[in-house]
Symmetry: C2
Amino acid sequence: MSDYVVAVDVGGTSMKGGIVTRSGEVAATGRRPTGREGGPAAVVATIRSFVGDLAARGEEILGAGPAAVGIAVPGLVDDATATALYSANLGWRDVPAADFVPLDVPALLGHDVRTGGLAESVLGAGREISDFLFLPIGTGIAGAMIIGGEPYGGTSGWGGEIGHIPVLPGGEACACGQIGCLETYASASAVGRRYSARAASPATAEQVAALTAAGDPVAAEVWDEAVEALSLALATYTLLLDPSAIVLGGGLAEAGSLLSDPLAKRLAERLAFRAAPPLRRAVLGVDAGMLGASLLGWRAAGFPHAGASWSPDVPKTPTVS
Amino acid sequence: MSDYVVAVDVGGTSMKGGIVTRSGEVAATGRRPTGREGGPAAVVATIRSFVGDLAARGEEILGAGPAAVGIAVPGLVDDATATALYSANLGWRDVPAADFVPLDVPALLGHDVRTGGLAESVLGAGREISDFLFLPIGTGIAGAMIIGGEPYGGTSGWGGEIGHIPVLPGGEACACGQIGCLETYASASAVGRRYSARAASPATAEQVAALTAAGDPVAAEVWDEAVEALSLALATYTLLLDPSAIVLGGGLAEAGSLLSDPLAKRLAERLAFRAAPPLRRAVLGVDAGMLGASLLGWRAAGFPHAGASWSPDVPKTPTVS
């Protein structure tokens, strides 16, 4: 039995891979563009060759092929059949896990955000709790609802779309075609875009955060509106799902207490008859998806409890590109 | 082994009891006031004596004492310890299941709405699906989230409070102390209250529905606002939980297509990138809680799969009062 799995986290423009041992050591990592400009078939081929290269690197370092492969992908995933059903971003439809794997080993696919949530649950900020929301706030906003220790994707895999709940129903149009979605106020791109429009000067969310901290009134207004929209979404999530905690991740959470302090205050104010759950920072950062994919790999290899004894620290390791 | 359980559904002002056999026959039913004006200890004693009287009636009809007891109660319930933790309405705190039962038989407690949802799941509108929302719309609004075939109450039993999510955050104050809650627009009492305030003439929700159907403009406006608030809450639920269906119950659902037609239309309009789940009518009506309590009773007796072969029809049966 090989003592490692190949794990790949596929994003819109690039993907991150890792070779992860049964004790949780990340023996190598790598990054590669998805090449989505080449179309869906080329993306599948690129992932397949990345998996093959990671396996070759594993054989070189560890003396054997991988025990299994775990892959996190965006879009819609059918966990039961391990099929990547659909991705708006990458254009594919109905790709079975085997198409991503040029080796005769078991493989599991997972939804990207839910796979990150699985990693935070087993290895990260949710390690000792079983019911929480993992909310990465980046270019977009989607959540992983962890219920009974496992990510829950709903009936058809479309669950967790907290970025598109109508927090301000008479508000701004979202790119998705709906009105007043959380994402259109509070994603990192929305914060940058909304500031740039008002200040007539382009800025990233990180810059808006810095300007807010420095007292810039336009930045503070945009930041406040993002916090307000987030507080409404989190009040709704709390009243419905009654989580133990809310784990904030992604680019916007890098702002630390500039985000979490007013958000915790606003959330508590929105709730009259129950306490607010604590807000926590995600701990795995951009590695959450790859580490979650490694947990899927170990599940595919027949070790469903892999991760329980791992250290959540991700060591600095050699890179395969 | 006795072949029946005693089931009691405790409401704010009255409670409903039943004697339910292992094959799902309702051999007797009864109703009794909770007597909440006497204080929490008196309510517990009243429930206890109702359970005793139902057991005596069972012995009379079926020749033996009950196998177990199942009780649905309002407020906060700890499933793990079978304790009624708190009810604002009935005033109790930390009442163990055994205090409700004057017999030496196993007993289980459940939250009232979730126990009704369990009944709709096993016997009713959700019989062949495993993930849905049971939404009884009555004096108040709370939901039972059915996940993987079982009601999910969240980390601390406070889940499902869809009646208090902020659907219109700049809107009206709710009696709960929050702003813009679904319940303040769309419960049966809210519909009656809001019409009465505008028309300066008192009316129940049932009367407002009739007036709306007859073309009364004030009633139609109030009704439309209730539908709008519901469509926002159900869009949010759908985007987060991705249910197979939404099962509408309670007094307001009695309006049938006057509610469900515009609600289905408005819900579909709120969703841009995914389909709306179908709306269904609950089928167990006011018996849902008692039937769910009987399923809890059979679980307490060691038959966790009771109900799978039952007929969902509730026969007309003799009454214990």
